[in-house]
């Protein structure tokens, strides 16, 4: 089929018309059972969306201006590093070390006997050899 014939066939399709009943009932449904949304609502929606956009841009600008992501990441997970006085930190750490050393010296001077565990024997005056002899004598008695 030649191109001109195809175009001619396509133009004959123009004769197709919608069903008259459908055209009438659809007209009634569209015009009398629905109504256009007010122009104000479109305008309001548009102005709201533009206001929201401007607001978001301003918020983003302020966010970047006050330190942005870095300040968010710094607190509260990790300590703030800016403005720390290194000298006072070092002296504080030194005093903590001193306290630990003092306690260690106290432990060293304490007599060893006090740290011994109490022995299981009920009477410390009995010699172990004598105790064994006593036990053997008792056994012979049985």
């Amino acid at each position: 089929m030649r191109e001109e014939n195809i175009i001619k066939h396509l133009s004959t399709l123009k004769s197709i018309q919608p069903d008259a009943d459908f055209a009438r009932s659809a007209r009634t449904t569209i015009l009398y059972r629905s109504e256009p949304r007010s122009v104000h609502s479109f305008g309001l929606r548009q102005s709201l969306s533009s206001t929201l956009s401007i607001g978001l841009v301003v918020m983003l600008f302020v966010f970047v201006a006050i330190g942005g992501v870095a300040s968010v990441l710094r607190t509260p997970i990790s300590p703030t590093l800016s403005g720390v006085d290194e000298a006072s930190l070092a002296s504080e750490a030194g005093s903590v070390n001193q306290t630990i050393d003092t306690h260690l010296k106290d432990v060293a001077y304490t007599p060893g006997d006090t740290n011994r565990l109490a022995m299981a024997a009920p009477d410390e005056s009995i010699n172990p050899d004598e105790e064994i002899d006593l036990l053997l004598t008792q056994a012979k008695g049985y």
């Binding site: 089929m1 066939h9 659809a26 449904t29 015009l31 949304r37 122009v39």
Partner: protein, 178 residues
């Protein structure tokens, strides 16, 4: 359309009679466009009604900008057809593509040869992609100028000319295979 701008202005202010006149003028065009896309009379009627309903409800947001009202309607119709296919992919009965089933006046297709050729053309159109179908229907069935088709399919005029050339060639190839 004579006095279209005036009718559109009135319709935008909520005048239903003005919109009714626009409906009467554009209904056959939009209906045909949708019918060739879905090849099903009932579905074409539903989608056409939905298209005009959406247009009427949203006419407040329509900005004429000197373009014909039809471009906006075709765009709504295209989106409605896309939505229709997205929701459920209908199976097209090949018999429904027959001219009688589509409602073509039998007096216009008196000769058997013409009828068979028309059926072949309709089936071949369905093998083209969506935008190629749109361009061919708008250009050769509805006689719309390139710039109006370009606005309806949201492409440049040059792109529409290229699509038209490609679509006609594909259609010719499809028909020669039959």
């Amino acid at each position: 359309m004579e006095g279209e701008k005036n009718l559109v202005d009135k319709a935008r202010k909520g005048n239903s009679e003005a919109f009714g006149s626009l409906y009467d003028y554009y209904l056959p065009r939009i209906y045909r466009f949708v019918l060739f896309k879905v090849s099903h009379k009932q579905q074409a009627e539903d989608i056409t009604q939905h298209t005009f309903m959406k247009a009427w409800e949203n006419i407040g947001s329509y900005k004429p900008q000197g373009h014909p009202f039809g471009s906006w309607l075709y765009r709504i119709a295209r989106n409605s057809v896309i939505d229709h296919y997205r929701k459920d992919q209908p199976l097209i009965d090949i018999e429904e593509v027959a001219p009688e089933a589509l409602g073509i006046d039998n007096s216009l297709i008196s000769g058997l040869e013409i009828k068979l050729n028309l059926e072949k053309v309709l089936r071949a159109i369905r093998e083209l992609n969506q935008v190629e179908q749109d361009v061919l229907i708008m250009r050769f069935v509805e006689d719309l100028p390139h710039d109006e088709v370009a606005r309806a399919v949201q492409k440049s005029e040059n792109a529409v000319k290229v699509i038209q050339h490609r679509a006609l060639k594909k259609l010719k190839d499809n028909l020669s295979k039959r």
